[in-house]
């Protein structure tokens, strides 16, 4: 065997691991460990309070501080997060959206404090609001001011931080919400067009700079288990982007038209049952976006084998990093020119995707573009419908999922033996963070902070760019909540369409008919149709499960109240009372179910509804499920309960059961 000269090999993509939890200090230690293990880029996960623009001591933050990411409230937190990390040599990706301008301002402030030239800063703020409305859920402001914030950042960074990707157009999250490849391509392109059109319309970016702006637009894709098709998808997007940038934006320089993208491989298909199988899925998905040199990703992030169980531990993440390293360094993947050059099979599939995506893109553009298609719920409805089709195909077995609806026999897995095989964030992290925040507030110069906030307010009112006053505010000790509240005052808050009300597709089938009959019988004995409230308490934005439950409940004949994401327990109890529902279904995937479910039960008791049955679904470890049931929850469901019709039947049971007085 000849060992090729490493000079003949292509440079590997950037290896990232999406991580962060508890506190800035703990996350910093984690990042340094990961870099030592050979990770080459950082990918910061923020906690939900930070992502939704509230401080750690805000009532809505309860139970969420430091859970699914790192809490960053002010410049000292940001400083601690990057302690001893060389910002001028780091490539930092931040999954931050509605408050992206603020987190970039904090990053710049940290760089300035440590004497790093901002011209050297390299990285990405995700900053894609359209997909927040469609899938990810951490939006704050209405579309119009949100698009303004994005275009402010694009206009600012192109000169001030030229190596920064101010926005990462995400199709990743669309696939996680059920999108087909065609939808993933078309909606992402419509989104990119909306951003670039907004920048072009501003007037403060000279026409001659537009090609540079276009060149800074990067994408964040998904890679699902149908990895051949995924390879074709990446090639199709490369082609479409080249055309759009040339025809619509007149970019002549081929380099600036290049489709640059990072990837996180699919997580929606990773299973709770036989979780070890997920490693194989992850490897195949990684191949989908690395095999083709012409359409290879620039950066890659892999989930862990225990994705559907809960948060990954350092060892779980290490295992996934090793997948990337083996692929890049042990295999001969990086020694070849494009493997698919001349393949008619691939070419044909690419053609099909390009044509179908073009047609769908045209439809969205005719509606008035991505923003209009968010507001009129078109795109969201399409996603919910695709996801409904997917869940049904899993139920019927039409879509085989090994270990779930096929080959379910299994020996006991040593991986899930013994103590919890997931990361459990220490409860004390929240308290410590709140104390540190209060200490920070009392040591900062109050009048400087006030002045900086006033400066921010004035600048925004005058239509000035959000970045300079935000950077000043970062230096002056303003907090994440204060910055966001200032913008809330000016812009208002937004509620995105849920996409469920117009879901036309009705589920058929024998077992459906059986449950529908039972729902009707129950209506006779109840005196009126069975009415259910599907609620999502807290900051959790995972809406897929709640949407599918709501649609299926409608399809079995229930009257369903679904109010979307981010409700307080008190609001849920008030809705339940006013609406006169017979049962409440809560959906919580963010891990804060213990606090939130108990709060809802308490609010229900206070409203005199202690008898109302409550069922809960989401990412809920067995031991927690037992505790919830002991506290009065009637049933608990997790991803392994993929048979929605069966769940509906059990909800009928729950309502029919005589309730023991609690």
């Amino acid at each position: 065997m000849s060992i090729p000269n490493s000079a003949d090999r292509d440079r590997p993509w950037v290896f990232r691991t999406y991580s962060g939890h508890s506190s800035a200090q703990a996350s910093n230690a984690l990042y340094r460990d990961n870099l030592e293990k050979g990770q080459t880029g950082l990918s910061v996960a923020f906690d939900l309070p930070t992502q939704t623009g509230v401080d750690s001591d805000h009532p809505l933050a309860r139970g969420e501080v430091g859970k699914v990411g790192v809490p960053i409230c002010h410049v000292d937190d940001m400083t601690a997060l990057f302690h001893e990390l060389p910002l001028d040599r780091m490539n930092t990706s931040m999954t931050i959206n509605a408050p992206a301008a603020w987190l970039l301002a904090l990053y710049v402030a940290v760089a300035e404090r440590s004497g790093v030239d901002t011209q050297q800063l390299q990285g990405t703020t995700q900053n894609d609001i359209v997909k927040e409305y469609l899938s990810r859920g951490t939006y704050i402001f209405p579309p119009e001011p949100s698009m303004r914030l994005i275009s402010d950042m694009v206009a600012y960074t192109v000169d001030a931080i030229p190596r920064w990707n101010p926005i990462n157009i995400c199709s990743y999250h669309l696939q996680e919400a059920g999108a087909t490849p065609v939808q993933e391509i078309a909606f992402a392109m419509a989104n990119a067009i909306a951003v670039l059109d907004a920048v072009r319309e501003r007037g403060d970016v000279p026409e001659a700079r537009l090609p540079q702006v276009v060149g800074r637009i990067s994408f964040f894709l998904n890679a699902g288990i149908r990895f051949v098709e995924e390879t074709c998808k990446a090639r199709a997007m490369t082609e479409i982007w080249d055309r759009i940038t040339r025809e619509r934006y007149g970019v002549e320089d081929e380099k600036l038209r290049r489709f640059r993208y990072g990837v996180q491989v699919n997580s929606l298909g990773l299973t709770e049952a036989q979780p070890e199988n997920n490693v194989i899925r992850i490897v195949l998905e990684a191949l989908g976006v690395t095999l083709s040199k012409k359409a290879r990703c620039r950066a890659l992030q892999l989930p862990a084998w225990n994705e559907a169980l809960g948060l990954p531990r350092p060892w779980d993440q290490q295992w996934s990093l090793r997948i990337q390293q083996i692929l890049a360094y042990e295999t001969d993947l990086l020694e070849h020119e494009d493997l698919f050059e001349g393949s008619q099979v691939v070419e044909n599939r690419v053609r099909e995707l390009v044509e179908a995506a073009d047609a769908e893109l045209q439809q969205v553009l005719e509606m008035g573009g991505a923003v209009a298609a968010v507001e009129n719920a078109y795109m969201k409805q399409q996603l919910v419908a695709s996801h409904t089709a997917r869940t049904q195909a899993i139920e019927t077995g039409e879509l085989p999922v090994v270990g779930v609806n096929r080959f379910i026999e299994t020996a006991d897995s040593p991986l899930t033996e013994g103590e919890r095989s997931i990361l459990v964030v220490d409860e004390s992290a929240e308290r410590a963070q709140i104390e540190a925040l209060r200490a920070f507030r009392s040591r900062r110069n109050e009048s400087e902070a006030k002045t900086a906030l006033q400066g921010l307010r004035d600048a925004l009112r005058n239509g000035e760019n959000v970045m300079p006053p935000s950077i000043r505010a970062a230096h002056a000790g303003v907090t994440t909540g204060e910055w966001s509240d200032t913008l809330r005052e000016l812009f208002g808050e937004y509620r995105a369409p849920t996409g469920v009300t117009a879901a036309r597709r009705e589920t058929q089938g024998e077992d459906m008919k059986g449950v529908r009959d039972r729902v009707q019988q129950l209506a006779t004995s109840l005196g009126r149709p069975l009415k259910i409230l599907v609620g999502k308490p807290g900051l959790d934005g995972h809406s897929n499960g709640a949407e599918q439950i709501a649609v299926r409940a409608r399809d079995v004949g229930m009257e369903v109240v679904y109010d979307g994401i981010r409700l307080t327990p008190a609001q849920i109890a008030a809705s339940a009372r006013d609406e006169g529902v017979h049962v409440i279904g809560l959906s919580i995937l963010s891990g804060s179910h213990q606090v939130l479910v108990l709060d809802v039960l308490e609010c229900l008791r206070e409203a005199g509804l202690g008898e109302l049955p409550v069922v809960v679904g989401g990412i809920i470890p067995d031991t927690d499920a037992d505790q919830l049931q002991a506290a009065g929850v009637a049933r608990v469901y997790t991803p392994k309960d993929f048979d929605l019709t069966r769940i509906m039947g059990e909800i009928v049971d729950v309502v029919s059961e005589p309730r023991a007085a609690a």
Binding site: G492, P497, T498, E506, A553, V556, Q571, G580
Partner: protein, 308 residues
């Protein structure tokens, strides 16, 4: 309050009897003119719920208490329904001065639900203003009109919408028109003048009242003050012009008729002498609307049984 609404929805015989008794009593005791009853209709997505949310905030700030009845269509295949208007109505928060209830239209083809009349009665005994949101689907405008004192039509800023209303002959019902989303630009002004010219030729079901087309934005609050004034002006117009009593009575007759039509078709209604017959019965018997409907229902049942 929620319990009363649950009860009037309950079809079991004992509960039905109890509900009728309560409704009769409430109807007899309710003050006149009492709560202002405002209907909001328009195509899906025009911004009805968002606009109601904005109105709730503004009116609540004036000290009013408010109830919303939000009606959504039921699925014909399954009988189920997805009720999603609350998503946009966050004004309620935890404020007991605002009450929101969603309702499925059930088998009613129009945008209003069978129980809507009874629900409005109950809510109007407790709150200063009752707002009914319905889906504008063509047939429902006359139904909602009979349910409320003032009917507001919310239109999208698009000529498509204006044209559709005119074609469907819907322009006669609303008392106030609002072209929403004026924050989106010039299209709103165009739609407004299209509607205005439509009104100039069309007929109005509200007599003397001069109907205005307003331009509003539920998003940024533009035109909200003018809208509140127009709604209040219509309410005042009704009470001073004494048409309110007539309109409410017509509404009661319409309720009885639609309840009977549902079970017995137009033949059954004709057998009772149509609208005039029912109006006379309502006046003569002195019975409450709801128990009269039940009584006539039983009469028709008996007549049918005698014939077969």
């Amino acid at each position: 309050m929620p319990e009363a609404l649950n009860l009037i929805d309950d079809q079991r015989p004992a509960q039905r009897r109890a509900a009728l008794a309560i409704l009769d009593e409430l109807e007899a005791r309710s003050a006149f003119p009492g709560a202002h009853r405002l209907g909001v209709t328009g195509t899906p997505g025009a911004g009805k719920s968002t606009l109601i949310d904005a109105l709730l905030r503004a009116l609540r700030a004036r000290g009013e208490t408010l109830a919303v009845l939000a009606v959504d269509p039921s699925s014909r295949a399954s009988g189920g329904a997805l009720l999603g208007d609350r998503v946009r109505m966050r004004a309620a928060g935890e404020d007991p001065g605002i009450f929101i209830r969603s309702m499925a239209a059930r088998e009613q083809l129009g945008g209003t639900a069978a129980g809507a009349h009874a629900s409005v009665l109950i809510l109007s005994c407790v709150f200063d203003r009752v707002i009914v949101e319905t889906v504008g689907v063509g047939q429902s405008e006359s139904d909602v009109h009979s349910l409320v004192d003032t009917l507001l039509l919310v239109a999208n800023p698009s000529s498509g919408d204006a044209l559709q209303f005119m074609k469907a002959g819907l322009l006669e019902w609303p008392d106030v028109f609002a072209v929403n989303k004026s924050d989106l630009g010039a299209e709103a002004a165009r739609t407004r003048s299209e509607l205005e010219s439509g009104l100039a030729v069309g007929e109005s079901a509200s007599g003397e009242w001069r109907r205005a087309v307003l331009q509003v934005s539920a998003r940024d609050g533009t035109g909200l003050d003018a809208l509140q004034q127009a709604l209040d002006a219509h309410r005042d117009h009704l009470s001073t012009s004494e048409t309110l009593a007539a309109r409410r009575e017509a509404g009661r007759v319409a309720h009885v008729l639609s309840a009977l039509r549902e079970r017995f078709g137009s033949r059954g209604v004709e057998a009772l002498g149509g609208a005039t017959g029912v109006a006379n019965r309502l006046r003569e018997s002195g019975a409450g609307t709801f128990s009269l409907a039940a009584q006539l229902d039983a009469e028709l049942d008996a007549a049918l049984a005698a014939r077969s």
